[in-house]
Symmetry: C6
Subunit: 76 residues, 6 copies
Amino acid sequence: MALVPDNTLITATPEEGRQLAIMLARKTIGAIQTDPDVRAGLRPMYANNPDSLTAAGHVVAIEFATVAAANNYWRA
Amino acid sequence: MALVPDNTLITATPEEGRQLAIMLARKTIGAIQTDPDVRAGLRPMYANNPDSLTAAGHVVAIEFATVAAANNYWRA
Amino acid sequence: MALVPDNTLITATPEEGRQLAIMLARKTIGAIQTDPDVRAGLRPMYANNPDSLTAAGHVVAIEFATVAAANNYWRA
Amino acid sequence: MALVPDNTLITATPEEGRQLAIMLARKTIGAIQTDPDVRAGLRPMYANNPDSLTAAGHVVAIEFATVAAANNYWRA
Amino acid sequence: MALVPDNTLITATPEEGRQLAIMLARKTIGAIQTDPDVRAGLRPMYANNPDSLTAAGHVVAIEFATVAAANNYWRA
Amino acid sequence: MALVPDNTLITATPEEGRQLAIMLARKTIGAIQTDPDVRAGLRPMYANNPDSLTAAGHVVAIEFATVAAANNYWRA
């Protein structure tokens, strides 16, 4: 399984960078818990818990900081 | 749904940058929990819990760090 | 309500930068929980809990990192 | 035990950088809890808990930020 | 009360920078919970709890990152 | 007690930098909880709890980010 889709941090736009950040966060979880059925079973546990959602959003924010720096913040 | 409003991290002012940071944090949650009714039901759970509010503010602080760097801190 | 007092990250001194960091953290909470009476009711809950205080201090530390970078660390 | 495999942060690709970030996170745990049997016993506790998985992914995100900066984000 | 002792982030050595990081973290808590008796009462609650200690050390690590950057890492 | 061993962030290798990051994290805890017997008593509490271990590894990751930047990532 690829941890970094397309093996690059470079994206055309901030929107795509944000999508990549979400993917990076998810792929890490998939590398730790490799059973897709288990992961599917955990989803309702955190998707309905506000603190779990905030924690997930926190990780995406950190991944995005890296992606954004890699892309020089997509400055024109 | 757009994860990055207007598909840019560049804003005219720190105030607008801060608003963008809040939006970025919220859009991520919306991408993970896509049901707006569920999200609405979760809101009172965290909006009345001080630790949940601190955690949400934490994520905004991280998003803002990225937005501020993208804008060279709006230095004159 | 302004999220960034005076709409700038630039301050004259580290002390003022630290005050700004605290303000930034507080304004975010005010943007999420807009009812001042609710916020006032939450205050004793976290101001007497050491982990809540640490979490609040954590957010201030992150906000300050951004403010300090914006001001080039107030190097002489 | 080596804390940094091959004693370098430089990798050929983002994918390898991500693998290194996961290794760095794991090696730290191994340095704190040195008993492999204890570590093996803890694994089901966090691999089936969504918040534990998010917390583990959080650490990987931070390690990756360092590895990515070390590699200048593998820009072409 | 001063939030930043001596109103500067510049220190002569890493050791002094580390001491400053601890002070910065403590001063923030003092600004949120202004009653010294309450603070003294909270101390045994977190000083004997490993997770509370880790959380406190986490904040110091973040403050130190800022102080270290301000001092260009005290490179010779 | 020294908070920064040898009073420098500069190390010869990433491996030594990682060791320093672990030391920095530990020295902070020692500065907050100064009683070595208490610290020894807390150790089994977190060394057998996966979330506590992750939290400790999180702090090491942040300390290492600072040490790595100080050393320009040990690039050849």
